[in-house]
Each structure stands twice: as structure tokens, then as C-alpha cells.
């Protein structure tokens, strides 16, 4: 085997390794972008809450739980009619989400809820002319009702995730910037160190098309299997929200995959053109 052939093979292997590095970097960029536009984006959850009818379903669930509490504490169903509305839940949830994304360890503020509940209870006792009211039992009732409201409005596991969300929010943009620079360097190295430009394009194509394959597989799996819709959550509001968020994330994955596919096709065409010219 001649020296030239060995050197050519070594060079090819090195460029293929660079292509692989581009592919891996683009996959990491994909994860970063996905996180940045979903869980790390404070509007993502809130927008999906609006589009999945979350606040209406949540209002019904809270009212149902409060009515159950009423059954155990001498309150009629009508007491809770219109007591909790979508606007109240929406406002409290927005504030709760904002606090988390700002890195504050926050819980749903139930001050307004307790105040309204107390006033409504006074009115109810007066209207129904009820004499049997135990003050200790009444306080316990208000506390339990506010606990139900808070527990129902807070998102499960969000408290635990908050720490990671705040940290990721700081590091993901840096990581994305780093990846972008790294990929740009690799591309420049491949382009400027290759005598034949069509080969350089081909090596870049390997990277982008691999990243396309890696990203399209989970997106297609989620789309075809409909696995997310089989999740078992007792709350209908949370279920709809989760399915909506997962669908949103799947669409983003598909967009990213299609973007990579377009680039790969473009590079393939470019490769053919340059090769035919040379």
C-alpha cells in the first residue's frame, strides 16, 4: 500500500470522525433547543394550559373536591357554585409559574382564597340561619379547603424540578452557543482542508443526515405509538395538559428533524453539482 493511500485513508477516517462529531453536536443542540423551547420556556406550559382547556377542567376538579369537603362538613353543593373560577386559577398559576422560572421557591398563594372562603362561610351561616358552628372545626375546614386548592393548582413534581430548571436555564444557552461555535469550527476545518470541495460537502452531509435520523426516530415513535395518551393520571386537566405539551414537543422535534433533512438534501444536491463541475 502506497504512502499516498495510507495518508488518504487516515484523512478520510479523520473527516468521518469530524462528521460524527458534527452529528453528536447537532444531537446535543437538538436536546438543548427542545428544552429551551419547552420546559425552560415559561410561556410553553402556560400557553398549553390555555389551549388544552386546563383552567376549565381544573376549576371543575377543584369544585368537585371542595364539594366533597362540603359533604363532610355540612355545606351544600350550592355553596361552592362559582366559588372558584378559571380567572382565579389562571392568575394564581401564572404567578406560581413565574416565580418558579425566576428561581424563587414558591407555592400557590392561598391568601385570597382563604379570605373569600371565610366571607362566603359567614354569608352562608347567616343566610341559612345555622347555629351549630364550631370555631375550631371552621378554621380546620378553611385550612383544608385552601390545602385542596393549593394541592390541585400546583403542578406535580414541579417543586422538585424547579432547582434543575433554574440551573438548566443558565447553562443551556451557553451550551448551545458552545455547540454552534464547535460545529462552525469543524465545518470550516473540513471545508478549508479539503482540496476537493464536494468531499467537504459530503462529510458535512454525513453529520447533518445522522442528526436527522437520530431526531426523527423519537419524534416518529411518539407520533405513531401515541404512548403519551396512555399515561394514567387521575386528573383530566393534567392529562390534557401533558398530552398537549408532549404533542407540542413532538411537533418541535419533527420541525428540527425536517430542518436537518432540508439541509442534508441541500448538501447532497450541492455535492452533486460541485462534483459534476469538477
Amino acid at each position: 500500500m502506497g504512502k499516498k493511500t495510507i495518508s488518504y485513508r487516515l484523512k478520510s477516517a479523520l473527516y468521518i470522525f469530524f462528521s460524527f462529531l458534527i452529528a453528536v453536536s447537532l444531537c446535543f443542540a437538538f436536546i438543548g433547543l427542545l428544552l429551551e423551547s419547552t420546559i425552560l420556556n415559561s410561556d410553553f406550559i402556560y400557553d398549553n394550559m390555555n389551549s388544552s382547556n386546563y383552567f376549565v377542567d381544573k376549576k371543575d376538579e377543584i369544585n368537585r373536591k371542595l364539594t366533597d369537603l362540603g359533604y363532610a362538613s355540612g355545606l351544600d353543593e350550592e355553596f361552592f357554585e362559582g366559588f372558584v373560577d378559571e380567572l382565579m386559577i389562571s392568575k394564581d398559576t401564572r404567578q406560581y409559574l413565574d416565580h418558579y422560572y425566576e428561581g424563587k421557591s414558591s407555592v400557590i398563594d392561598t391568601e385570597n382564597f382563604c379570605e373569600s372562603f371565610n366571607k362566603a362561610l359567614d354569608r352562608y351561616v347567616e343566610e341559612k340561619n345555622i347555629n351549630k358552628v364550631d370555631s375550631k372545626g371552621r378554621d380546620y375546614l378553611i385550612k383544608t379547603a385552601s390545602r385542596i386548592y393549593r394541592g390541585e393548582t400546583e403542578l406535580p413534581f414541579f417543586n422538585t424540578l424547579s432547582f434543575y430548571i433554574v440551573n438548566l436555564k443558565t447553562y443551556i444557552p451557553i451550551m448551545l452557543g458552545g455547540i454552534l461555535v464547535f460545529v462552525a469550527i469543524l465545518v470550516l476545518v473540513i471545508v478549508f482542508t479539503n482540496k476537493w470541495k464536494h468531499r467537504a460537502v459530503r462529510y458535512i452531509y454525513y453529520g447533518t443526515s445522522t442528526a436527522f435520523l437520530v431526531t426523527i426516530i423519537p419524534a416518529l415513535y411518539l407520533l405513531i405509538s401515541k404512548k403519551i395518551s396512555q399515561i394514567t393520571i387521575s386528573s383530566r386537566a393534567l392529562y390534557n395538559l401533558l398530552v398537549e405539551c408532549a404533542n407540542g414537543a413532538t411537533i418541535l422535534m419533527l420541525f428540527y428533524a425536517l430542518f436537518l433533512m432540508t439541509i442534508s438534501i441541500g448538501l447532497f444536491i450541492l455535492h452533486r453539482r460541485i462534483k459534476n463541475k469538477s
Binding site: 462528521s19 453528536v24 363532610a72 352562608y124 401515541k226 396512555q230 399515561i231 394514567t232
Partner: protein
């Protein structure tokens, strides 16, 4: 010469490499990913099995109804039941009906005492037993709804529990007001069939209370479940 030969060979493979190489890279990436998560795979798959079901959850119904009433004629003919012939209710199932005519109580009976069960009827305390099993049956209900009638309960009154495998009668033997956490209020380890019903106390009071109103009853009739006959 050899260089030309190689270039010629490469030319032949060139087209295929556009497809083969990305697939190989993709497999390497997924294999690396698999190797990285492999130690946690069993934990993840167990978690997945906990959170995912084979079918989409149906939110249109809150519970499953397995109650099919037994005619009095058939009930009187059956003195004993083989355990294998009984469809045991699952948690949350509507599996019977409870009637205390003298108190105006007629309500659905659920297995388990979840919010859904108590919202729709009377619940069986988790850890107690079903009628006919020869042990303690502990039933709970809200004092504002289905068990409100317990305030009129008197010694000697009759309680009827209908299930898909038989109809049971119990006689009320007494009542007591005890704290919710008083474990002496009932005996789940009792080796004889007895009925205990409870609700919040006092009745018709605003507020949550720590007291419970207990009603005790003794078994009168109904098919006995033979636990040996499997």
C-alpha cells in the same frame, strides 16, 4: 496506480455511503445512549409501567359498576358460596347496595373509601372485608349526604346489603361517638361477621370535626363465603 484503483473503488461505494454511513452513525449514537442509560433501564421501565397503561384512560366514568342484583328466591336457596364463584370487587368498583329502611338510607356500595366512592355512595374501608367473608365490614359515608339518615338509627333496626353474590341482613346492636383516630372503635381482626358504619359527628354542623358516629350491627342472614373451597 494504486491511488487510482482506490479512487475508482471509492467512486463505486460513494453513492451507498450517503445512506450507509448516517445509519451506522445513528446506530452508534443510539448504542452509546443505551449503554449510558442501561444501569437505570429497569428503574425507568418499572416507572413507565406505573405511569402508562395499555389503553387510553376513560374520563367519562368515575367508576366501574359490577353490581348485578340477586333475586330473593335465589338468595334464600344459597346458604354457602365457594370463594372461586365470587367476583371480588376491585378498588373503586360499585359492587352493591345498602338499605336501612327505617333511616331512609338507600345507597350504592363501593369497594374502597376514596373521594369518588364517598361522592357517589357508601365506601368500604380499605382493609376491612366484604359481606359474607366472616370478618368485620367497615363502611364510611358523609354525614351530609348518604349517611345523614344515621342520625335516626336505633337499636334493633335492620340493615340490608345487596351484592352480586348474595343479599345480607344485619341487626343494629348499638351506636357510639368516638374520636376519628380511636382504633378501639372497631376491630378489623374480629373472626366473626360484624358490621360497623361510621360518619362524621355532630350531624348538620358546619366545619370539619374529629369525632365520628359509629353504628354497630350483627350478622343475621346471607350466604357465607367458604374460604376453603378454592
Amino acid at each position: 496506480m494504486s491511488g487510482n484503483k482506490y479512487r475508482h473503488k471509492h467512486k463505486r461505494l460513494g453513492g451507498k455511503s450517503f445512506i450507509i454511513l448516517p445509519i451506522i452513525f445513528c446506530m452508534i449514537i443510539y448504542f452509546a445512549l443505551f449503554a449510558a442509560v442501561n444501569p437505570y433501564l429497569s428503574v425507568v421501565s418499572t416507572g413507565m409501567r406505573l405511569f402508562f397503561s395499555d389503553k387510553t384512560k376513560d374520563y367519562s366514568t368515575e367508576f366501574d359498576n359490577i353490581f348485578v342484583p340477586v333475586s330473593e328466591e335465589k338468595n334464600s336457596e344459597t346458604k354457602e358460596l365457594a370463594i372461586k364463584d365470587i367476583e371480588f370487587p376491585k378498588y373503586g368498583n360499585l359492587f352493591g347496595k345498602i338499605i336501612i329502611e327505617d333511616c331512609g338510607i338507600e345507597s350504592d356500595l363501593f369497594y374502597g373509601d376514596s373521594e369518588v366512592s364517598l361522592r357517589n355512595g357508601i365506601g368500604t374501608y380499605n382493609g376491612s372485608f366484604i359481606p359474607g367473608y366472616g370478618r368485620t365490614i367497615l363502611l364510611a359515608g358523609h354525614n351530609n349526604t348518604y349517611f345523614n339518615g344515621l342520625k335516626n338509627v336505633k337499636k334493633g333496626q335492620e340493615v340490608i346489603i345487596k351484592t352480586s353474590y348474595g343479599n345480607y341482613k344485619y341487626k343494629i346492636t348499638g351506636t357510639a361517638v368516638k374520636k376519628a383516630k380511636d382504633r378501639k372503635a372497631f376491630d378489623l381482626s374480629a373472626e366473626y361477621e360484624n358490621l360497623v358504619m361510621y360518619t362524621c359527628y355532630p350531624f348538620d354542623e358546619i366545619g370539619l370535626t374529629e369525632y365520628r358516629f359509629f353504628v354497630y350491627g350483627d350478622y343475621v342472614s346471607g350466604p357465607i363465603i367458604n374460604k376453603e373451597d378454592k
